[in-house]
Symmetry: C2
């Protein structure tokens, strides 16, 4: 999916919500565990209940890998289900990969060729040649970690160099030499508040993938206030707040209500910014 | 496996070789492709041919993930095969994971509980709470990226802060607050040469996992000269140089010869250092 298509979807749906499919077998409703494919069936119900309210889905690979072969089957089936039934969805593999060139190329092949996923989150620590293998596919995206939502983001990402440039700023600046805003996005945690102002000084137009709203305590209002651009420039993720809105048999309806609430806030923000 | 057991194995085998199982379906000998499980069969042959010459195996997860479900089956079967037949081997999942706490905990569960792997490579960018979930298992290890073997290692890892501390040094220093040398190792590329001196100033006793000998051009002699400790302190990985030593039906014998050559050099280094 290219940038224009993504923006069109945001305007049409009045939403820049990404639903995080962090599907934990230990947290899904009990009645699903009797079936043969509990993870896929959970995802399918969540997707059917939310697809008109969001523009993206983000399976977090850890939750699938921890189930081994069965987890990969559930992941592949989920991606295929979205592709076939909701082709306007932007699918993000939240994988936080990044390795030497030939290895990153293998990951890229896996996500972009075999699974036809739109974007992969990538960790920048290993530098340019660990990222560029992901940038060779048309209309496929790298979402590079910049300033993450967790407490540990303070350990290294905020380290200033002798020119007072912080590491996350250096990542933002340098990585623009590798690809433009039609192929690269950045992860910036919703918990970072006013830091979005600093982010926008370095990447005024890029889309940002923003986790950390909901369970992690980030504020959608603040994210929009400091991070929104003329073309929205935000994909805001919510995982636990939506997919675990209820633990009962009504989990899909509850997820829909939770997604509706976020989407309504997003519509308001988009209107206030004159985007819709 | 604990530190003492690892060191005992190194002395007994006169080797600190790790064989990297970067098994690429596109590079394995053609005659294996007819069988039902080409990747596992390739790995099995390599393992049987090299197990007495090395102390560790390191499957690189990218090469398995890119095959989807079949790749995971091959990985799980490979790990089980090593565990059952060569219980003295240290198994490293080269995964370069690292995510917010609850997600890292899922990865840890996957590698340490479900697969009974000894160590996982982890990327430090997201800081403490992305690493600590991997540190809660007895005799299981985190191998944290410090100074990698690739060209891109220069992009961020060498960035100096205002106190002239480079990022990789900060990673080495700060992460010692999270665990000691009985649970943490560091990745340092063989291509880094004399930088091992600087590394040893910060982590004098830790084991280092050293990729980059062979195909990537690093020198074993230099690594030993600047990086070896009284207890060896090195696990040196070779992947392509060993597992693709021949593309014919003699691939396993050729891998053995290549591993023997490295092991002989290692024995010499260990003797010169008075370790064996």
């Amino acid at each position: 999916m290219n940038r224009q298509e993504l923006f069109d979807n945001i305007r049409r749906k009045q939403s820049f919500l990404c639903v995080g499919l962090d599907t934990d077998i230990k947290k899904i409703p009990e009645h699903l565990l009797d079936g043969a494919e509990p993870v896929f069936n959970f995802n399918k119900a969540i997707i059917d209940a939310t697809a008109d309210l969001c523009v993206a889905y983000k399976p977090n690979l850890a939750f699938y890998e921890c189930l081994g072969v069965k987890g990969w089957q559930a992941l592949e089936k989920t991606v295929k289900y979205i592709r076939q039934n909701y082709p306007d969805q932007f699918i993000i593999a939240d994988a936080k990969r990044g390795d030497i060139g030939n290895t990153s190329a293998m990951y890229a092949r896996s996500f972009f060729e075999d699974m036809d996923i739109d974007a992969v989150t990538v960790a920048p620590y290993m530098g340019e040649d660990s990222v560029t293998p992901f940038l060779t596919y048309a209309d496929k995206w790298v979402i590079l970690l910049a300033l993450t939502s967790n407490k540990g983001s303070h350990d290294f990402q905020l380290t200033e160099d002798a020119q007072s440039e912080r590491l996350f700023e250096k990542v933002l600046r340098k990585s623009q030499q590798w690809a433009g805003d039609d192929r690269m996005m950045y992860v910036v945690g919703a918990t970072q508040g006013r830091m979005f102002e600093d982010i926008r000084k370095v990447v005024p137009n890029h889309f940002l993938l923003v986790p950390g709203v909901g369970a992690q305590g980030g504020s959608l209002e603040e994210v929009c206030k400091y991070g929104m651009t003329k073309e929205c420039g935000l994909i805001v993720n919510s995982s636990r707040g939506i997919i675990y809105a209820s633990k009962g048999t009504d989990f899909a309806e509850a997820a829909r209500r939770a997604a509706q609430e976020v989407q309504a806030q997003m519509a308001k923000e988009l209107k206030a910014a004159g985007i819709v």
